[in-house]
Subunit: 375 residues, 4 copies
Amino acid sequence: MSHNSFGHLFRVTTWGESHGPAIGCVIDGCPPRIPLSEADIQPWLDRRRPGQSKFTTQRQEADAVRILSGTFNGRTTGTPIALQIENTDQRSRDYGPHALAYRPGHADLTYELKYGLRDHRGGGRSSARETACRVAAGAVARLILGNDVTIRGALVQMGPHAIDRARWNWDEIDANPFFCPDAQAAAAWETYLAGIRKAGSSIGAVIELVAYGVPPGLGAPIYAKLDADIAGALMGINAVKGVEIGDGFAAAALSGEDNADTMRMDGANIMFGSNHAGGILGGISTGQPIIARFAVKPTSSILTPVDTVNRHGQDTEIVTGGRHDPCVGIRAVPVGEAMLACVLADHLLRHRAQCPQAEAAQATSIKNSGHVSQS
Amino acid sequence: MSHNSFGHLFRVTTWGESHGPAIGCVIDGCPPRIPLSEADIQPWLDRRRPGQSKFTTQRQEADAVRILSGTFNGRTTGTPIALQIENTDQRSRDYGPHALAYRPGHADLTYELKYGLRDHRGGGRSSARETACRVAAGAVARLILGNDVTIRGALVQMGPHAIDRARWNWDEIDANPFFCPDAQAAAAWETYLAGIRKAGSSIGAVIELVAYGVPPGLGAPIYAKLDADIAGALMGINAVKGVEIGDGFAAAALSGEDNADTMRMDGANIMFGSNHAGGILGGISTGQPIIARFAVKPTSSILTPVDTVNRHGQDTEIVTGGRHDPCVGIRAVPVGEAMLACVLADHLLRHRAQCPQAEAAQATSIKNSGHVSQS
Amino acid sequence: MSHNSFGHLFRVTTWGESHGPAIGCVIDGCPPRIPLSEADIQPWLDRRRPGQSKFTTQRQEADAVRILSGTFNGRTTGTPIALQIENTDQRSRDYGPHALAYRPGHADLTYELKYGLRDHRGGGRSSARETACRVAAGAVARLILGNDVTIRGALVQMGPHAIDRARWNWDEIDANPFFCPDAQAAAAWETYLAGIRKAGSSIGAVIELVAYGVPPGLGAPIYAKLDADIAGALMGINAVKGVEIGDGFAAAALSGEDNADTMRMDGANIMFGSNHAGGILGGISTGQPIIARFAVKPTSSILTPVDTVNRHGQDTEIVTGGRHDPCVGIRAVPVGEAMLACVLADHLLRHRAQCPQAEAAQATSIKNSGHVSQS
Amino acid sequence: MSHNSFGHLFRVTTWGESHGPAIGCVIDGCPPRIPLSEADIQPWLDRRRPGQSKFTTQRQEADAVRILSGTFNGRTTGTPIALQIENTDQRSRDYGPHALAYRPGHADLTYELKYGLRDHRGGGRSSARETACRVAAGAVARLILGNDVTIRGALVQMGPHAIDRARWNWDEIDANPFFCPDAQAAAAWETYLAGIRKAGSSIGAVIELVAYGVPPGLGAPIYAKLDADIAGALMGINAVKGVEIGDGFAAAALSGEDNADTMRMDGANIMFGSNHAGGILGGISTGQPIIARFAVKPTSSILTPVDTVNRHGQDTEIVTGGRHDPCVGIRAVPVGEAMLACVLADHLLRHRAQCPQAEAAQATSIKNSGHVSQS
């Protein structure tokens, strides 16, 4: 029940502050003999890395990952995999005035209330820098899931501006700086976010994750349901305020008839007529694509002065300069993917432990209904 | 990492099927010397009990709880508290035809895929009957939290019909069969839901939970954040498809300025200007009211025939007769309250273990901004 | 990390006091489709049951187990298995005077120090009656391990009187009231223990457990080593004061040469020359018989008056009448077997989760060196 | 339930192989505001460090610990403490021939059976080098326990040669290279062990641990008993084959009268007449000194050729050259102390969570009976 560990059989423990010498994680429970080197992890980190466009913080972190244990001759050994990333661009001076004032929307106040002190250099432990470790762990999780499982994420709403789902094209994701699957929306966002950034303001976002090829049977009711674990995993990402599975909140307005995912046989396979459920029933994966969405609040660090108080119990104002993302939701896309990968890898191992025959028997008996049209 | 246990220091393990002889739970980690008898638990169960209005299933379950261990002379002893509720109205015959066909939206298919067999009598383990144990455990959790903490829930949307937040009145909650805080909406829903029920249809709902008086400091970053644990707890309730904290998905559309919860000193206390965050920052409670919402899909059991397949791989149709709630979201209100209570009690113990001084020092230094106006 | 749960993937949660209405346990994580009924559990409980010879307590407990959940049509469903045993012969009056005085060697004092109160009726939660639940869980664990694994226990020392290992004969175990594998020793103990009992005294014992047919690879270094988990499991049984694996304390006096378990090929199999290690190397099973021993202190309840103090801080004397085993180590034999079964079942599932291929590949490649001669 | 984590609320996760770039650990759950720097940890590591006398391996490891996270301005922050120790003297060439042959008594065979591969450089993960992390974590655990708790260890038997308990003198511990409390025995051992070393042989040992000043109430029955957790912790140390609490195996030969730890009032305190129980009753600390012993087998690496087999299924012989301790039990003394400290710190936090009032109330109401004479 460690505070800083995630997962059970695939278990990740992270450590480190944004302005300490390094951050890192220990991955325990990884099956042996999986080919693994830094080259399997680095590309995923590079997707999350700041400083790649004018729409993310201008901090320059190489985010070069190093494997310190758990592999031998290029394969995992079944022992803990220690990953480490040095902090290279820390500039503590950027954060000077925050030593005393509590930045609204940040964890400054609550860390102080809980622990009686805090590392005020850039958020310390509460900094989103920690999410690099999640992405690194997610890369290992993907290797456990294997090539049949594909986990993708997309920004589907920036501020009030949602994409047009009819234009969804996964190939667009890497063609714009927003992980946006709708080329037209991406173009519009470019102008929109430039304005937000110029104004020293910030804006929220919604991210959609899809996992294709997940075998049926993952998830362990009643208190280790797959959707419950995904919800916890995504809500635990910095700045996230909402999580949905399948139709999510829209399901509240539906009738039972409209919400029913009908089934028909298609040869030996079961073909679903829709996927309102988001690929999970009773907390267990159906074999359909798993669909989750999460909402990210606007970056709390803005250039407009905001009323706050300080450690001495005095009223003050704060302007959070530094170098911040105008829409922290963008970089949350690879983080969300990674958390979903970690949840699925953990549940794959859990399922295998309790139901080994099921794993063999299930084959590909579920026809994957398309993802976009239903939700 | 038990599949059927919830929480860590306040830990609840539930067992039982809807059509077995009984259901029950074991509560471990409860502090000693807390006055506890069945009378402390039964009233909460009675709020969830079916058959109390025409808008909930007509099954008649007494849901009488019995304490089998863990108390002595009317006080908790610190040892496991075993609670048991007999199943009295099971009518397995109601479920006959479902033995073979997979009810869409239910866990029939996935239990079979995972385990290779299922107890088809009324959902077996996946039945919402299990939530009675959650409510019982929540009653004990409330005793641990003490009188300073108040946890309330309300139905804020039924189908497409939301309440008017300006009419929010907690006193209305017990004055209608919907736990609705808006008397006018409740009156309209009565007609609306009667129509749904008559049509053999069903409808979804949104529930809002508020916890007042929660001390600051609860929640343990990075992977035991209070909001992450609440999200997992609520998403794990049967039929839930979405969870929000504070402004939730609406926060995605806000600017950083509009989302900032400003602070001012009010004597020795900190007074927040708003509560967009829902009482949690960086995964730790601020001392403000904690606000969470969750969306419940429409009851999957409806009278309209729906396409499905059966165990033999044949196409078929199903009409789920039996006795079902037209809006299962109504009875989810006390269940949601209970899960929130369990999360908070668990984190109270966790916080006390790591930060005993903090607990003493915090006093009531946070002024609770109102709940309704902000969200 | 529940206080009253044991194991991780095969997880047992027990509850109940000796003088409450019942005791019971919830077994979570059991694989599905295993044939299971009360008849699979009851015989193991009967072996532990008191009142079967003059050498165990004369309490008469039927110890009839009832399965309340987790099976359907005679097979496990993968959901929690709730087992319950009613307390039928409680005679609380036997324990009257102990309400105030702390019985030396019992948990009276420490429960009071920890919890500030205690259920003084026969030890309450600390009573050895709880071990019935361990035995019941062990019966289920054996089913998971399957027929290739055999777990046996034997009393190898009573008071100062050890068996002659050259006379070890498993068939004798059920031929005497002591689970003694040496017929000659058993005969001598009969007279010896009758004297102890008549004197109102008590005596300790040493139990040896052997698990045959355990596949290699069980145990997960570094902090879930098989021997560490066995040690914790056995030391946690009431009245146990020492645990050994393989040669145990005798290994301290050996040289490296004498302690080496040599290996030779025997066809495709590895044949060990000895088993000083007790079937575990580096915390992982070798495939040899697993050998563990544990020491049980003399029953603390004796008829000789002993100095003690009471709740009011007064000096007093206590004579623990009631109905007690003169050698509680006897009934610890089936309890030790059960705990070993639970540890092995848990590790089988853990191993399967991380190393599924290993499980298939290992076959029976290790020749089991004999058990008795080496240790 | 991580394989490589130890403890629950005070939780240590270790990683690293003997011949990788570094080893390390992450300590989670440490209370905030405890003064902590490398200087608090290094002295304990220095006690375990090899190469300090001719009786330990001649590898030269600086074992310099570095704190990478979890402190700020010299105090713990409540976030994970990452500790790292570089491997500086690895000489992989020493281990060349072992790549194929399985060293008897080592984990070579079992790692290969479990994982299908192994890092054969000096034991890889199974190397005793990992125990440096335990010692580092133990240093932090001691800080949590505070100055009132003192944990000490002593070598009480080397090979067949036990100390004379009447000569027990804690001041001798640091005056000889064996952590031996009996100066006369230490002198004899010097000659004895020199002979063992010269012969290329090895010998086992027994270590005794005593924790003074432990508050009553630590330990959580039934499955988190303090003695069970100590047993698991000590049995999990490399090469350990037996564990005892209090009188241990000797208790088996005692009568109930002889084993009774009587109590008398001494003013407001309870004074025990003896400490056969080793300071733990019913799995909960009494407030007396906690006494544990563990047996370490002889080092398996010896210069005498031993029969074994190799990866290719061929018979062979092995001589384990390299640089090894002739009595690995010596360096196990600080490791045992550290594990005991970790268990106690974990239980202190657990106890505080469930029974905060007890902690305050208990004061020093138990008179600590002396340690040496009773056991």
